[in-house]
Symmetry: C2
DNA sequence: ATAAAACGAACGAACGTTCGATATTGTGTT
DNA sequence: AACACAATATCGAACGTTCGTTCGTTTTAT
């Protein structure tokens, strides 16, 4: 029904090096170092060091001396890649919308008017599928780019206004798509949630998506894979979450 | 069925000043200032300033000069209350388990053995009620102490080991109680989730609890009260979340 | 007038960033 | 192939600033 993480990676040809190719593609104009091969390699070292250190002590408490040690570069060397500490954070935050635009499925999906609810089951199933597809894609992207998602979530709030703007725009776009698709499901299945309830459900789903990349180590210790989690969420959708209000069993 | 936030406050006699009475009670031994009335008033100013500043820029980026300005105290004056910046954070983190121990309902709740499943509905209902009670109490406490919960969540990970220990112990206690009560529901209602699934559900519930105090302003803008949210979660429980695995509607 | 509380200038440590010196790489000429 | 010379990339000592914290002094309350 919904595709697996392996399928997703295959479909988008997501290799390990593709991350750094894309990252270089997005930021190469800002770099002082012009050789692409060298730049990709050093950017990888710097970003991975940033993820480790900011995961351990937080970006604010991460020192550029820490970063130099962890990435095996010198203090000055790092500055040929990042410009400043703040821009380092900005580069990371900007990467996520860039990847979204390259991977997320556009759903031109004609809006559900009252007229074409004829074949109900079909329409309802398609609305459900559109929601679940979006959930799976987000989940799989966050699996592929866990450190990036983690960083974006943890550091967005406490960054400069410029960075916060990037992060909040990205977040609210996601929230909005989620809301629309939840609303479509509730309309198509004639359960007609109030706008408030649909929003509540959409926010809940986002929390559960975040839970995956925030607590991935815990899930893995319990032998829960990302495919397991995707199925788990799909079942929540297919069962009670978007039903009419309140009649308990 | 489940009590309201107003009932909860009434039952525990939670007034605005009670927060500071309890906070002083927990920490008075460490203070250099001995006059209780003065200390409570100044502690309130310092903590509220800490919440505002760490909410805006994060605790790591909050300066003690910021704190002095925001709380209308001098740099030196603050140190008669907090000892050090790290101890200020520790004092906040320690407060939550202290409040839990004073307010959370102990459920001595005989463990559900196979033998007393006779009156099934009754047992199942009681297991469900125990879970929902715990959820509501957590929700209401987080409503009463939103800044404290917010601070504990955002700053726990990036604190000293001593602080992290307090925060993680508190979190995993909550997680464990949640897990037990979810498992009890699934046993009592003969749906017998796997241990893995019960844990997944318990973690999901915790995410949804956190969502309340992390995004409270958004919920409020949508006119969602804490009682609304409590009912919403209760309905999720009473409907699909803890049902057998997988048969979609 | 004595104790309690608040104050803020001053200190050393550590931070982000710069920049001139050094090392490495790539290219054109023997 | 060997060399030389730019061009490119890396380095880390040094700078100015800001941080958490201290402590001798002043203010307030009894």
């Amino acid at each position: 029904m919904n595709l697996s993480f392996a399928d997703f990676k295959l479909h988008h040809q997501l290799s390990e090096s593709k991350v750094w190719d894309w990252f270089y593609q997005l930021h190469h104009a800002k770099l002082e170092v012009k050789n692409p091969a060298i730049a990709k390699q050093k950017l990888k070292r710097i970003m991975q060091a940033t993820f480790k250190l900011s995961h351990d002590k937080g970006f604010a408490l991460m020192t550029l001396r820490d970063l130099a040690r962890q990435s095996d570069l010198s203090l000055g060397g790092i500055y040929s890649y990042i410009g400043s500490k703040e821009q380092l954070a900005l580069m990371i935050h900007q990467f996520l919308p860039f990847v979204f635009s390259k991977t997320l499925t556009r759903h031109p999906e004609q809006p559900l008017s009252q007229s074409n609810l004829a074949k109900e089951n079909c329409v309802a199933e398609r609305a459900r599928a559109a929601l679940i597809t979006f959930i799976c894609e987000h989940l799989y992207l966050s699996e592929w780019l866990t450190p990036w998602f983690f960083f974006a979530f943890m550091e967005a709030k406490y960054s400069s206004p410029k960075i916060r703007k990037v992060a909040l725009e990205n977040e609210s776009t996601t929230q909005q798509v989620l809301f629309e698709r939840v609303a479509n499901v509730s309309i198509a299945s004639h359960h007609e949630l109030s706008q408030q309830s649909a929003l509540l459900v959409a926010m809940n789903i986002k929390s559960l998506l975040q839970s995956w990349y925030l607590k991935r180590p815990i899930y893995h210790k319990q032998k829960v894979t990302v495919d397991d989690y995707a199925n788990h969420l799909a079942q929540l959708i297919n069962r009670g979450i978007i039903d009419g209000n309140g009649q308990s069993k």
